[in-house]
Amino acid sequence: MKLKKNIATSENGFIFNPATGDSFSGNAMASEILLAMKNGDTEAQIKQQLLQKYEVSATQLNRDWEDWIVQLKEANLLEAAIYDSK
């Protein structure tokens, strides 16, 4: 689970993939997670930070995380073939 290196993100949720020219907008939570992913934080670290900061249960977060990864995969923003690894 690693973002492609060349993906550009901004703090207000704008995401740009220079390889394909695709751009995306994300909500605040999406930009926070993307920032952490760019910093190289692991899934466990990111989830831990979110659980501490936000009013959300681990169950809900895990469920949404799975959907989040599907979204990134669908948007072609993850490094190929490694999105299943931890």
Partner: protein
């Protein structure tokens, strides 16, 4: 430290394309109350899914429709179309508002009698009346609208020796410029079949031709079609007077007026395109008053509206079961009501609202019902906020046909409640049970 409000992470691809002339939808509100009763409390008390009807809205619709016609024409009578929604509580509201009953089967006919409707205020339509049912209608002095020659001949036989001639009407079908022409019901105007049927009734000497009936289609979105229909009906009535010296007491223009639901495939929402009841009233009454009837011989105008009087008074409440992503990345939400209880989702793009606060992001999704059937699709494409399992949704404008055409299939049919004008909630049909479904089943002894 107080924790911050969480929102599910979400990204959306930006596509540069043509501008959307309708603009983006912003600031949609959750639909939390029906007639000031909280949606959540209704589900807590009666379960999910749940049909909810607003008595206030039903009466408002009826009065608006009656006013639209009665302010333009001196003699107007509505007859509640039972097949649209024949829950006894619903029928009783319309009967309290002085509506007659319009029924299309022996089952509906007996239901109307059970609801206390006098026999002479029941209109009996439809192509499938049995001899027993016709006899019952004759005994009750109901208005029998004849659909085909077999029925006409049968009525002539049944009427033999009766002290009072049965009161009948001829159902007339015609070309009103809309497609399809509903020529499967009644006798055709253009071919002369309708006139031949009128002659046969008069010449029989045993039947009393009280009126003429038509019903040109359903969800008719052009008022002009009703103008053409009214003109043709009036011409038949005037010809009866001129050639047979027989006055037609009433013209029944049927129903078919659309609600403001959006039909599938429509470019614009129904609320923007559907004519109002006043537009239809203007067309029909304008045509009739100018048709050439003597002032004191204007026939009674009967209307058999169903859908327009109740569709927007009905809501279906439901609960989100799960979310998933389809193979191409599109979001899908599974809810606890399927097409078996929301029959109209086959032809309407039903509006669906979340029943609780939601995040501002919308996502395009498919809404599936809970049935293990591929056809169980409530909405093929709808923009909704991100819903979580357990969240409640409200489907709008479901009052017509769903509570009669619903099917016991895979799941049981839900309860129906009525919110009265004092905002009190009444259970008007209990949730179906396994016992109820199996009550009349029999397993042969050798299989036990």
């Amino acid at each position: 430290m107080q924790k911050l409000v969480y929102e599910r992470p979400y990204i959306k691809k930006l596509t540069a394309g043509v501008m959307n002339k309708f603009g983006s939808r912003s600031g949609g509100k959750p639909f939390e109350y029906i007639d000031n009763v909280p949606v959540k409390s209704l589900i807590a008390s009666y379960g999910s899914p749940l049909f909810v009807l607003s008595e206030k809205q039903i009466r408002r619709n009826y009065r608006a429709a009656y006013r639209a016609f009665s302010t333009r024409y001196p003699k107007v009578q509505f007859a509640w179309s039972y097949k649209t929604n024949y829950l006894n509580a619903v029928c009783s509201i319309f009967h309290q508002e002085a509506s007659w009953a319009e029924v299309v089967s022996g089952f509906e006919y007996r239901k109307a009698l059970g609801n206390g409707v006098p026999g002479n205020k029941i209109i009996f339509n439809g192509p499938g009346k049995t001899a027993d049912e016709l006899l019952l209608a004759i005994e009750n002095d109901s208005l029998i609208h004849i659909d085909h020659l077999e029925e006409l001949n049968q009525l002539i036989i049944l009427a033999e020796g009766k002290a009072n001639k049965p009161r009948v009407g001829i159902r007339v079908n015609m070309d009103t410029g809309i497609y399809p022409i509903w020529d499967r019901f009644g006798f055709n105007y253009e071919s002369g079949d309708a006139w031949a049927a009128i002659l046969k009734v008069i010449n029989s000497g045993r039947l009393q031709l009280a009126g003429l009936h038509c019903h040109i289609g359903t969800y008719v979105q052009v008022t002009g079609a009703y103008g053409i229909a009214a003109a043709k009906m009036a011409s038949l009535a005037l010809r009866c007077k001129a050639e047979l010296q027989h006055s037609i007491a009433y013209l029944d223009m049927g129903g078919g007026f659309p609600s403001t639901n959006t039909l599938k495939g429509s470019y614009l929402p129904g609320t923007d395109t559907i004519p109002t009841i006043d537009d239809f009233a203007e067309e029909i009454t304008g045509t009739l008053t100018k048709a050439g009837f003597a002032n004191d011989e204007l026939p009674l105008l009967i209307l058999e509206s169903g859908r327009i009087l109740i569709d927007d008074a009905g809501y279906l409440l439901g609960t989100v079961i799960a979310n998933k992503r389809l193979s191409e990345g599109k979001r899908a939400t599974i809810v606890d009501f399927g097409v078996n209880v929301l029959f109209t989702s086959f032809w309407y793009e039903h509006q669906i609202s979340p029943a609780q606060e939601f995040a501002p992001n919308m996502e395009n999704m498919v809404v599936y019902g809970p049935l293990c059937m591929n056809i169980d699709v409530i909405r093929e494409s709808i923009n909704l906020p991100l819903l979580n399992p357990g969240d409640n949704v409200v489907v709008h404008k479901v009052g017509a046909y769903n509570m009669t055409q619903w099917m016991q299939f895979i799941t049981l049919r839900p309860a129906v409640v009525l919110i009265d004008e004092q905002q009190q909630v009444h259970l008007i049909k209990a949730k179906e049970t396994l016992d109820y479904i199996e009550r009349d089943e029999h397993v042969p002894g050798h299989l036990k």
